[in-house]
Symmetry: C2
Subunit: 516 residues, 2 copies
């Protein structure tokens, strides 16, 4: 069956002597790893968690984190990974929303449980550390004292994991991701990413994010995993060399920092075969530099959402080659849909737009969530006639390339014209003195909304607003040129490197520009 | 969604200019092919077929056959491919059983409609030929006159195709195969067979058999297809060369005949990358010869059933390499299960046997049928607690290799001992003077059942029963040695090359051996 329980049983039997986890603490075979997870499942049962009960994990990436996720799948309990960059009050609200019964916390975050509001969780918490100076019960001892639990006979449609989205701004929503959702995406990705049992996957993006589910395809085929608690260019490069990483999943800013790092040339990266990047497209020039820096390594751009467990579409190696051979426009595409995923582009009334026209991207398929936890109104809004409404604006060309133009809420209407801020950002980023740029709309008496750009200059450059405007004139229509341009040292970003546009909009509203 | 309708729409959009069909009649792009299928769907609707209605196809392999299958999927009608080797009365009974409303018939079989009982079908039949000397309405004209039908919005659980099994002996049963069944297996196989859009699949096993569904993985990724109306070694070799075939799906006897054919060395077979063989295992010596004859070509043995749409397990290239490097016993395995497929081995009471022990193979997974058409008693017998009981006997080793030992009904109990006839056959086949062998049990006063072997000698040899018995003594226990040995020019076989054991048993009963 398409459940993570079946997958673990199969991987234990078929790949038992293969290495599941490579870690400074020692390697674990699939036999050992599943055995540990099954004992950790016994521990969860001992803590009172029944099938369907939810429990929270607040930790950076680690092999223990992975074990605990798999223990949850094995036992039927539903893990709720939490963004550790949230404020304590947000973490508390999220755990209340998910009705968590237990909290697993990394030792270095255990101090949060000493004061309100999280002190209330102390009696229900255990430490994910090997030891717990903070005095919490300790995972390793709890697990080792527990007996192996028989696997829960989960149904394909049962919730496997509850992942919160939108957690850094506004009220987070828990996305219910079923066993079938995860396994369907693993099957789709296994072919697309050409996964084999020889692969070794580097987990460097935070495991509380849906992107981490991509690695299920590797577990399904008996490959191995390496977990990094935090991103530094040197840590990634060293891990590739030390553990023979074959697949790295990175966000574009990570790639940029790796390329710029002084230590870049010092590591042997020969095993790496695939860089999967997502969250935002990369300019052609950076793709070219990345491909030159990693010769022989394939590049895949992923378009996904937490609600799609996570991948909808992929711009694969062939597409990248085609782009660099003259079709640079393709790099702005989210890719082409995975087999089994249906996509349509609709207008505000829910009708299909004409071929090639823009509209809201709606999807259905085996990896699409059945909905948000306890959010009947939101569910009614985003699921209509079996189609999930992504809230992303895009278009589909006549070869099936899906161009994601903007978040619906990020599109700006200025002077009666629709402007996709992502298009303006892409134009600005082509200026050599621009490292990054973000464009938002702010209320404007004359135009309804006015376009504002915040730009991070490239190191050693000092562009002026006039430089940028003159550059934009060459690439985009006049009504798309920002009326206000500011420079900053950095853009506010989420844990996944996504620009927090609401924060920027607020900042712009609070300090209006000098009127023209 | 995991439906063949979604797949066709996606392949039309993403792979529109790629070649879907290579044919002496000319190539068809995916755009043209889906357009034709959608028009043929309009034709089916015009013939009165609504979604869920069934219609029969009686034909040898051809591109038109494939078009018509896809037209059915597109329209929601359910095709019922018929074994053209059946007697007219059997064909008639099968179409009644399936409640078919229309019959598509290859022109060369149209004569069957001139006499009872199939003459009753003449008003409901059309010819699959380009023209119809027999005077039936003709597919090409009907299709070309029809307008493109909007795709039916099939649900994943809807029946996609009804395939009859056991049709050559006893009363055939229609296996209901859903869209999800077919597409799940396509996703599983796409990775296992490393399918890409560059693949070209040779359809030479009859399309009325479930094995043909394997090719769906190729359609899903935009590859091409070549259809051969009948098997001859030369036709296969010529097609590989002419069309650049990359994947050939063959049964072991076909492979044997190809290797023995005088024309073997005359063709350029450089494009071939994978031979997928099934129905029965091959002796190690023949595998070795095949691999030498096709250097660089991977070998995959498939274990499947019509009820599993069709593939359960695969013995892949790595397994073959391992077998030839000293683990020859692996060649007797059906392979290792595909991801998402659960397997258990149970005793007569439905309890799991001890690890490594033999019992009935039971399975569940996304490619497993929901049941037989209009057979409530059979369905109740084979589906218990969500598990499909295959009727095959086997064992699972500690690395997940599934050894299929026998059909449950082919196991012989002699002198109180269980004997797997397949094991005895494998032992006999190791004798150099044996081309093929089949072993059955016949009623016996002293032993309950007695083992009888029918042997086809290798060309130019004349083994005696004593030779065979002496040989067997070296390889199997005394109670497994056949008490009766006969020689024949050929074994009775089904369309798929499976030995018809019931026919042999009957023959043995009708002409008893001289008593000892």
């Amino acid at each position: 069956m398409l459940t993570l329980v079946s997958m673990l049983q199969r991987s234990e039997l078929l790949y038992g002597s293969g290495i599941a986890v490579r870690d400074p603490g020692g390697n674990l075979t699939w036999r050992d790893y599943v055995d540990r997870s099954a004992r950790a499942a016994g521990m969860l049962r001992g803590l009172g968690l029944r099938a369907g009960d939810r429990f929270a994990i607040l930790a950076r990436n680690s092999a223990r984190y992975a074990e605990l996720l798999h223990a949850a799948y094995w036992s039927g309990a539903v893990p709720v990974p939490i963004n550790f960059r949230l404020a304590p009050a947000e973490i508390s609200a999220l755990m209340e929303d998910a009705d968590c019964a237990v909290l697993a916390v990394e030792e270095s975050f255990a101090g949060l449980l000493l004061q309100p509001p999280l002190d209330a969780w102390r009696p229900r918490a255990f430490s994910l550390g090997a030891a717990s100076p903070s005095g919490l019960p300790c995972y390793d001892s709890l697990r080792d004292a527990a007996a192996r639990l028989d696997p829960h006979d989960s149904a394909e449609e049962d919730d496997a994991i509850l992942l919160y989205t939108g957690g850094t701004t506004g009220r987070g929503k828990g996305v219910r991701i079923s066993h079938r959702n995860v396994m369907a995406n693993a099957l789709q990705l296994a072919r697309t990413m050409s996964v084999t049992g020889g692969d070794r996957y580097l987990h460097v993006s935070p495991m509380f994010h849906s992107t981490d589910l991509k690695a299920t395809a590797v577990s399904m085929l008996g490959g191995g995993h390496v977990y990094l608690p935090e991103f530094t260019p040197r840590a990634v490069l060293a891990a590739i060399q030390q553990y023979g990483i074959t697949i790295g999943s990175l966000v574009p800013t990570m790639i940029l920092r790796i390329l710029q790092d002084a230590s870049f040339g010092q590591f042997d990266l020969a095993t790496l075969r695939l860089i999967s990047y997502g969250s935002s497209p990369m300019p052609a020039e950076r793709i070219r530099r990345t491909m030159q820096a990693f010769p022989g390594v394939g590049m895949q751009q992923v378009y996904g959402l937490t609600e799609t467990s996570p991948v909808l579409a992929i711009l694969d190696e062939d597409d990248h080659a085609r782009a660099l051979a003259g079709r640079e426009d393709l790099l702005a595409a989210g890719g082409r849909t995975l087999p089994g995923l249906d996509v349509r582009i609709v207008d505000g009334g829910g009708e299909d737009v004409l071929p090639g026209q823009s509209g809201e991207i709606i999807v259905r398929g085996p990896q699409v969530t059945r909905g948000y936890h306890n959010r009947p109104a939101e569910n009614a809004a985003v699921f209509r006639n079996g189609w999930f409404h992504t809230g992303d604006l895009g278009r589909l060309d006549d070869e099936g390339y899906l161009f994601v133009q903007d978040r619906k809420k990020d599109m700006v209407i200025t002077g009666g014209e629709n402007v996709y801020t992502s298009e303006v950002e892409a134009a600005i980023c082509r200026h050599p003195a621009v490292l990054e740029a973000a464009v938002v709309g702010t209320p404007d008496e004359r135009f309804g909304e006015a376009l504002c750009a915040v730009i991070v200059p490239a190191p050693g450059t000092a562009p002026t607003p006039e430089d940028i405007i003159e550059h934009c004139r060459k690439h985009i229509g006049g009504y798309k040129i920002p009326r206000r341009i500011e420079f900053a040292k950095a853009l506010p970003k989420s844990a996944m490197g996504k620009v927090l546009k609401e924060t920027l909009r607020q900042r712009m509203r609070e300090s209006p520009a000098v009127p023209e």
